[in-house]
């Protein structure tokens, strides 16, 4: 999801401001669907929707019947300028785009100290930077070919907020938990129950979906959950993308390139 305005409800303002350029950047290398994001709440949680509307920008009120007619009718919010992409395809397309420029990717185990010249270190938690922590996230991929969504849908819920991102072939990415834990254990039964229960509450037809994949991993994050470029001699550490990997990667990369090529110090750059 490329959802800077929705994320702005809890993220620092810089994430919304700089993340707004992500959709255009990704569109240069991979298909990006610019249909916006739909935000809804169950009848019992209308106060959550009102609160979200107060705290977010870049949205309009809507009736789900008008934007996602396949969903049960509810009042919602539409964020028309948000977008989504298929992250796995995006990585493959990015690699292909680099290859077309004559850039090859080699895989080898190394630390920045093993390499000569300027090094861009984007190893996430493996970089073990001071102040970096892991935040556990869990997700489910569902196959529900009878359900048709043309944009990501967020369900606000006081206990189990979720989002569903439609992918090709009737697939939906259902996410995601956010736990202050550095455990890389497989997805817990509790999290699966919570995620699936919320999806079922959004549309009971998700009860008939096939569970195609379960995933759990850690998001690298600094204390403010904002990514940063840390300059340490000839090494640039790009890290802390938290839950904003695809949203903030383009601007982080651009600011790193600007620093290396022109010495320009971008907003995300920190001296060590």
């Amino acid at each position: 999801m490329l959802a800077p305005w929705c994320e702005g409800v809890t993220a620092e303002p810089v994430v919304t401001r700089l993340g707004a350029e992500a959709a255009a950047a990704w569109a240069r290398v991979t298909p990006v669907t610019r249909n916006g994001t739909l935000v809804v709440a169950l009848d019992r949680d209308r106060a959550e929707l009102a609160r979200f509307a107060r705290r977010a920008t870049g949205h309009q009120s809507c009736d789900t019947r008008d934007v996602e007619p396949d969903l049960p009718r509810r009042q919602g919010l539409i964020f028309p300028d948000e977008a989504h992409l298929d992250p796995r395809r995006a990585l493959a397309d990015l690699q292909a785009a680099l290859a077309a420029e004559g850039i090859t990717i080699e895989q080898a185990e190394a630390t920045p100290e093993d390499l000569s010249g300027t090094v861009v270190d984007a190893r996430g938690l493996s970089a073990a930077q001071p102040g970096l922590r892991g935040v556990r996230g869990e997700m489910v991929v569902l196959h529900a070919p009878d359900i048709r969504l043309s944009r990501p849908v967020r369900l606000l819920h006081p206990r189990y907020p979720i989002y569903l991102v439609p992918r090709e072939g009737g697939l939906f990415m259902l996410g995601a938990t956010q736990l202050e834990s550095a455990s890389r254990a497989p997805v817990s039964a509790r999290s699966v129950l919570e995620l699936l229960s919320a999806a079922y509450a959004l549309d009971p037809r998700f009860a008939e979906a096939s569970v195609v994949e379960l995933g759990a991993d850690l998001r690298p994050a600094f204390a403010d959950n904002v990514p940063r470029i840390t300059v340490r001699g000839r090494v640039l550490h790009l890290n802390g993308l938290f839950r904003h990997g695809y949203l903030m990667a383009p601007v982080l990369a651009r600011q790193a390139a600007d620093y290396l090529l022109t010495g320009t110090r971008g907003e995300l750059l920190h001296e060590d």
Partner: protein, 253 residues
């Protein structure tokens, strides 16, 4: 200020560590609140990895681990023992949830777990209701602090049963009591302190505010105001007007 298992706290505000937009926002809220105690959930938030735990340690406040999310006495006792090892404190905020929707404590499981933990040397802070009978049983089991709810956890409704809470406060005047759960506004905290409770514990009201640091400051001021008001022996309530200016001796115009 009341004694909490031999510890006199510098102020009457306890703050939770969950649901903040980021640890940096949480740190700012703690700074603004001046809270003297941080509650930490063991089950999901500090189970593995030191990153978040280091941030909490850096707050420089006393840690009160809790058994949030436990639905049985056995589960709560196990969690409490893990918390004692991990956080190196005998303090435990004991939660045994009895109802999934209201998050109301299970009085039977709570008493069972409190007896076990008190006998095991824990300083138990049981999350309970305003029920006087249960409160007395918890005291009999060895609890020197009680944490009656204001309203269901996360509901923000304030003090749901003022009469019951007043009765509880009056029934056990020597027991330290912390209003825990359900507070949504600083005025709720002030009211609890005005009623003679010794502290308040909150999390969602601050963490879910649009500006958690500002809300934390609001609660800090409210707790202080309520405590001062209680100590000042408030005037009685009347059902008729009493002029503050004497009627006798008015100028005859």
């Amino acid at each position: 200020m009341r004694d909490f298992y031999g510890v006199t706290l510098p102020n009457a505000l306890m703050l939770g560590t969950a649901q903040y937009p980021s640890p940096a926002v949480m740190e700012a809220a703690f700074r603004e609140s001046g809270a003297s105690v941080a509650t930490v959930s063991l089950r999901r938030e500090a189970g593995e990895g030191q990153g978040f735990w280091k941030i909490i340690q850096s707050l420089g406040v006393r840690i009160l681990p809790n058994t949030a999310g436990c639905h049985s006495a056995k589960e709560a006792v196990t969690t409490a023992r893990m918390a004692r090892d991990l956080f190196e404190t005998s303090w435990i905020k004991l939660e045994v949830i009895g109802h999934a929707d209201t998050l109301q404590p299970d009085p039977f499981g709570l008493l069972d777990a409190a007896e076990t933990l008190a006998a095991d040397g824990f300083d138990v802070f049981p999350y309970t209701t305003e029920d006087q009978v249960l409160a007395q049983r918890l005291v009999d089991a060895g609890c020197h602090v009680l944490m009656p709810w204001g309203a269901p956890i996360g509901s923000g409704m304030g003090l749901n049963n003022r009469h019951g809470l007043r009765m509880l406060r009056a029934a056990l005047p020597d027991i330290a009591m912390v209003i825990d759960a359900g507070l949504g506004l600083p005025s709720h905290a002030a009211e609890a302190m005005e009623m003679g409770f010794d502290a308040v514990l909150l999390n969602s009201a601050v963490a879910q505010a649009g500006d958690p640091a500002a809300m934390a400051r609001g609660f800090a001021l409210a707790v202080q105001a309520g405590g001062l008001a209680h100590g000042a022996d408030p005037m009685g309530v009347r059902d008729m007007g009493v002029p503050s200016t004497p009627l006798l001796g008015r100028a005859w115009l």
